[in-house]
């Protein structure tokens, strides 16, 4: 027979020898294998104390970005929602009123912005689609929750901390992610 792959292995169909038939010897061999594992390095990462390394390109929980002056960048264009293959993003736009210039960067902003983390597949297409560098995927996980409702993240859950009022948290949330070049 022609071998199709190099991985194919012939099955050994020889009669078992006496030593193999009384099991004991083979069991002893198996036990030696398990015993050697007793002294091997553990594969487990002690989670809350130790975190595993995430690559800079890791796609985790979403963050809605602000600019240096603490204004929300999102202009509710809806491109992210259109790009999203899982249809996880819902939003409602609203018009910026006079006096709200400190809060929103553009004339139009997202009054409601929700991502359903159970639908999301963390593909990062929303980040690619966004013309305003307003959304990006951070290096944290979506944490567990008790109810399905808890997985629908509102704007308050997604917004990055304000760089003016709490610069430390802002830096931490930003991570080591390079800012996207935008033209405006």
């Amino acid at each position: 027979m022609v071998q199709l792959t190099q991985k194919a292995k012939l099955v050994d169909r020889r009669q078992m020898s006496w030593l193999e038939r009384i099991y004991l010897w083979n069991i002893l061999k198996g036990m030696m294998i398990t015993l050697s594992h007793l002294f091997k390095r553990k594969a487990t990462i002690n989670f809350p104390e130790q975190k595993r390394y995430f690559a800079p390109v890791f796609r985790g929980l979403h963050v809605l970005n602000r600019d240096e002056e603490g204004r929300e960048r999102c202009t509710a264009c809806g491109l992210c929602a259109v790009a999203c293959p899982a249809e996880a993003i819902t939003m409602e736009a609203a018009e910026r009123l006079p006096g709200e210039e400190k809060l929103y960067r553009e004339e139009k902003y997202a009054a409601r912005y929700e991502i359903n983390m159970l639908r999301c597949i963390f593909c990062g297409l929303c980040e690619d689609a966004c013309p305003k560098d307003a959304i990006y995927l951070s290096q944290t996980f979506a944490p567990s929750n008790y109810s399905r409702k808890g997985f629908i993240y509102k704007k308050e859950d997604l917004l990055i901390p304000n760089p003016l009022t709490d610069p430390e948290d802002y830096k931490k949330a930003l991570g080591d992610r390079p800012a996207k070049k935008i033209n405006n």
Binding site: I27, M31, L35, H37, L38, K40, K42, A43, T44, N46
Partner: protein, 350 residues
């Protein structure tokens, strides 16, 4: 009046000893569950429980507490009385066996010699066999009273397994009895102290006894009564809360006791290997304590082997189990017995 002159000291001494031995078995059984989880984890390159207390040593307490607070469910269709009797019996028989095991030589306390054995009856081994074979009732009654097909199947499996392996176990033991000429546990240990351990004279007998002990304790590879994948946990499927706890606990106590029995019968009990400790001139109490520690070390070794085996080999199929028992172990143990007899006869002639 003579009949009523009870030796109160004797009763007190035995009572204290009973309390100590039972609580010791319980604590060790508790921590065997912990060891089981830890060793299982290590053998699989994991870490095992490490959250409750330092290195997770409070884990057994947490498990026990959890079992206590679980809802107590007694199925409507079960026969209630038997349903409760099952786990109680399992626990009871598991604890009863510890009575005849010599835990050490005697301590010298308050001007009296206190032997570290609850009852040095002259039919110690027969007692153990009697109680161990009662253990099957725990499984049988529990499985039958649950009124559940899986439980019943498991109970029947358990019963037939125990009966078939008890035979080989008993016959492997007869060879040991021929060597010592006594059924008394303390005499068997004394004989080993003088002439060397029985495992040297009876290696085959030891292996047979060990395999049968695995089967008697329902440990892998003979854990057919609680086969998860085909019987949904077998005889304790309908049990919840502490009644389930009793069943699980009884298994670990059984492991502990059968390790103790094996250490006593084949590894010289409290005998310290390779040395003659009576020549050291140490005080009697210290020697007794060292002897006890040595026995414990042997028991822990066996417990580790039990766990080690469990996490290495898969379960036998039922027909393989029966084949091994009836066609493998029983003829072997018979041969072992006959050969021992012939050798002894030949030696006594020359």
């Amino acid at each position: 009046m003579h009949l009523l002159s009870i030796d109160w000291w004797f009763i007190l001494e035995k009572l204290v000893l009973i309390v100590i031995v039972i609580s010791l078995s319980l604590v060790i059984a508790m921590y065997t569950t912990y060891a089981e989880r830890k060793v299982a984890a290590w053998l699989q390159d994991r870490r095992g429980p490490n959250r409750a207390g330092p290195w997770g040593i409070l884990q057994p307490l947490a498990d026990g507490g959890k079992l206590f607070f679980k809802e107590e469910i007694i199925p409507l269709v079960s026969s209630k009385w038997l349903f409760i009797l099952g786990p109680s019996l399992a626990m009871l028989t598991a604890l009863l066996t510890s009575a005849v095991i010599p835990w050490g030589t005697s301590l010298h306390l308050f001007g009296k010699d206190v032997p570290l054995q609850i009852a040095d009856v002259n039919i110690g081994i027969l007692y153990i066999f009697g109680v161990v074979s009662l253990g099957v009732y725990g499984i049988m009654i529990g499985g039958w009273a649950s009124n559940n097909k899986f439980s019943l199947l498991a109970a029947i499996r358990g019963a037939s397994q125990m009966i078939s392996y008890e035979l080989a176990m008993g016959m492997a033991l007869i060879a040991v009895l021929m060597l010592t000429g006594s059924l008394q546990m303390s005499v068997i240990v004394q004989n080993q102290v003088e002439h060397g351990w029985h495992i040297i004279y009876q290696p085959l007998g030891f292996i047979i006894f060990f395999i049968c002990a695995l089967a008697e304790c329902n440990r892998t590879p003979f854990d057919l009564p609680e086969a998860e994948n085909e019987l949904n946990f077998g005889y304790h499927q309908e049990y919840s809360s502490m009644k389930l706890g009793f069943y699980l606990f009884a298994e670990y106590i059984n492991m502990f006791i059968s390790s103790a029995v094996m250490a006593t019968l084949f590894l010289g009990g409290y005998d310290i290997p390779f040395v003659n400790e009576t020549q050291w001139g140490l005080p009697q109490n210290l020697l007794a304590i060292i002897g006890f520690a040595v026995l414990m070390a042997k028991i822990f070794f066996f417990l580790f082997v039990f766990i080690w085996i469990r996490w290495t080999i898969p379960r036998f199929r039922y027909d393989q189990l029966m084949n091994l028992g009836w066609k493998g172990l029983i003829p072997l143990s018979l041969a072992n017995m006959v050969i021992t007899a012939i050798v002894m006869l030949w030696k006594s002639k020359t």
